[in-house]
Amino acid sequence: MIEIKNVTKKYGSKKAVDNVSFDVNDGDIFAFIGHNGAGKTTLIKSIVGIHDFDEGDILIDGMSIKDNPVECKKLMAFVPDNPETYEHMKAIDYINFICDMYDIDTETREKNIKKYAKLFDMEDKLGDTIDSYSHGMKQKVVLISALAHDPRILIMDEPFVGLDPKAVFDIKEVLNEMVKEGKIVFYSTHILDVAEKLCTRVAIIKNGKLVKAGSMKEIKGDKSLEKVFMELEG
């Protein structure tokens, strides 16, 4: 479970995230939506321990990310909005590196890497250096490295950007599989129709403040998620 409690993050005097609180439960696919610059990435980076925050706390399975960053991070995998990787490495070396950081044994990683490489059509491409890849291929490498250590919580920032339609379809299948096992998927997106179909819960952030959070049904009612979002933005 992720508990976000009164989190405030400032850049100078500007509040990028302003007293935001909500929970993400086990088995949720949680969509986090908002306009550009609303504070989505800032909050996501705070959850995964990249950014510090000024007030409040974030608990991962009851542990504070401030007090137990390493233990919290062991439960999570993060997929950034831009596929950030060590481009001079071979993809397989990069994935191995990430798995090493999570202490994943050879057998488990071999099984998972092969599974996800096959799913994303990367089986014969992981021997190349990442700088020879397209944006979408880099994104696939980041996804494989995130999934290879079998995380309990998957946190993604705009994960579908740059992926081909088949990869988008496949990743949605993977996410559904994960939540069936009681894991958590939390991601930010601008693709509202995908979020509407895929996610069980949603939070909408505007100018750093949480505007709405709850189950997809509660938030959108009879309207489409896009309409609700546009009304809130208006």
Binding site: K45, V48, G49, I50, H51, D52, P69, V70, E71, C72, K73, K74, M76, F78, P80, N82, E84, T85, Y86, H88, M89, I92, D93, N96, F97, I98, C99, D100, M101, Y102, D103, I104, D105, T106, R109, E110, I113, K114, A117, E123, D124, K125, L126, G127, D128, T129, D131, S132
Partner: protein, 536 residues
């Protein structure tokens, strides 16, 4: 012109943070104080040394000789530095896509990149020339207002020719490497060959300097033939002529324009060739190595991978290590010649028994010149977020960077030690102490580099040269290293006749152990917090 200024402003904002300095005026924790303080300390050291030389030459009225030699020396340094800097400073920049898609002339982009390089070298040159000018004022036989005018013009224009030479060599190096499959390897190899050629040339100048001394009466003309800017500076100081000054300015400007015009003809072709990434034959996943490693080993492997895939990083670090090995071999092969040379500055008795001290100084030089960690944080760039999101503590991340740097520096230094131990008779205790220094001194260098880089990180760099060679952290780390080296030499000169070599080495062992412990504690207690607060 407006476009050039806008482009320069945009580039300089991210390069040298000069606009940030203004923003931080009210900030108590002002980052500019340390660089300024160390720059002044360095300039003070140059000024002190210049005074000593002026004092010796003043009775012979040869003060201008010092000006010429310093100008010549700094110019060679700029060319050597520039050879491995220009490759990555001019090519494969991160802002290529942005700039080349804008409606500006390609030569404008090239001009801005060369101009940025010129500005950096202007500061580098000024660190040597300004204290020299101040010292000259004290020792000059007579001083006219024209000296100040000449010096001002020289400060502005002296870096131009070395920058042009560096750019030409850099473009040739990149052009050669762009034609090969293993571009990085070729670039490293060609850079090393050129740097060593320049180095060998400058080391074999004895006969030329002998001629300078022999022709002291016509020294100006002689130096002008040797290196025009150095000679014309000396000539204008002793015999000012406005026409000569204007000709000098004109020559520099015309050379710059011609170079820009010629280089812009091939620059973009080479740049796009360098971007071609060669892909290897597809390998099925079943044939790839998938295996687990301990975290620290995996982190060290990642650091080594970054090092060996960044040509400017290798050449920068490798140069002093290669130089160390060359000096070691040279010392073994031509010991008698070196001994004769050293005899002129040191008593034979001291020289005989203090070989271990000489090796200690040599190790210190190699270690402090090989400051690898001063850019390892900056080189992470946006990838710093990968490290920060992983379940590893900050201490492990930072120490893995130190271990990797230590592996790179210590191995060649210990190889050098072993060669020297085989060639020269040293006691077991001396050998053990020197081996300890081969670890302890590079460790100090790497701690300083990492601490400086965490204090002055530059994660939004445009190319690797900016952080490896032109960043505040790289400048300060080398400066602090040099100050420690000079301090050691000073201490040796004070104690050399009071204590035996083993005692002297033991004193240094204690000192370096102490410094290592203090720097380690500072790194994990203070600098680690800086790492945790880094974000991009």
């Amino acid at each position: 012109m407006k476009k050039i200024l806008s482009l320069l402003k945009a580039c300089m904002t991210s390069d040298m943070n000069i606009f940030k300095i203004r923003q931080k005026k009210d900030n108590k924790n002002n980052n500019i104080i340390l660089p300024l303080f160390l720059s002044f300390a360095f300039m003070f050291a140059i000024w002190s040394n210049a005074n000593i030389i002026f004092e010796k030459l003043a009775p012979m009225h040869l003060q201008v000789l010092v000006i010429s030699l310093v100008v010549f020396g700094t110019s060679i340094m700029v060319v050597v530095e520039g050879v491995y800097k220009t490759g990555s400073l001019l090519f494969n920049c991160k802002d290529d896509q942005l700039l080349l898609s804008l409606p500006i002339k390609r030569s404008t982009v090239l001009f801005v990149r060369i101009f940025k390089f010129y500005l950096f070298e202007l500061i580098f040159n000024a660190l040597f020339i300004i204290p020299l000018i101040v010292a000259y004022i004290r020792w000059a036989d007579s001083l006219e207002w024209t000296f100040f005018l000449t010096s001002f013009v020289m400060i502005l224009f002296l870096p131009v020719i070395p920058v042009i030479l560096s750019c030409i060599i850099g473009v040739i190096t990149s052009s050669i490497s762009s034609r090969f499959k293993f571009k990085n390897f070729t670039q490293i190899l060609v850079s090393f060959v050129i740097i060593l050629a320049v180095f060998v040339f400058s080391m074999n100048m004895d006969s030329i300097f002998e001629k300078i001394a022999a022709h002291a009466t016509s020294i100006n003309d002689f130096i002008i033939k040797l290196y025009y800017p150095a000679g014309i500076y000396a000539k204008l100081v002793t015999d000012f002529n406005i026409v000569d000054l204007l000709v000098f300015i004109l020559i520099n400007i015309v050379l710059f324009i011609i170079t820009l015009f010629i280089l812009s003809k091939f620059y973009f072709k080479i740049n796009s060739r360098l971007k071609n990434v060669s892909t290897s034959k597809s390998v099925r996943i079943d044939n790839l190595v998938i295996k687990s490693r301990p975290k620290t080993i995996s982190l060290i492997k990642k650091e080594l991978n970054t090092f060996f895939k960044t040509p400017v990083f290798i050449v920068n670090a490798g140069f002093s290590l290669v130089l160390f090995i060359i000096v070691v071999i040279g010392l073994c092969v031509k010991y008698n010649d070196a001994f004769d040379l050293l005899k002129s500055v040191m008593p034979v008795k001291i020289l005989d028994s203090y070989l271990s001290i000489f090796i200690f100084v040599l190790i210190s030089f190699a270690a402090f010149m090989t400051s690898i960690t001063n850019s390892v944080i900056s080189l992470e760039g946006k990838n710093i977020n990968i490290l920060k999101s992983l379940p590893i503590n900050t201490k492990t991340i930072l120490m893995s960077k130190v271990y990797a740097a230590l592996l790179i520096t210590t191995i060649p230094i210990i190889i050098g030690d072993i060669i020297l131990f085989i060639r020269f008779r040293l006691s077991i205790i001396e050998m053990l102490l020197l081996l300890a220094f081969s670890i302890l001194i590079p460790l100090v260098s790497h701690f300083i580099g990492l601490i400086m880089n965490l204090k002055y990180p530059k994660l939004d760099f445009e190319n690797s040269s900016e952080v490896v060679k032109q960043s505040t952290s790289s400048f300060l780390s080398v400066l602090i290293g040099m100050l420690l080296l000079l301090g050691s030499v000073l201490l040796i000169s004070k104690l050399i006749e009071l204590v035996n070599p083993v005692t002297l080495l033991l004193i240094f062992l204690g000192a370096y152990l102490f410094i290592d412990i203090i720097l380690y504690l500072y790194l994990i207690k203070v600098s680690a917090k800086k790492f945790d607060s880094l974000s991009i």
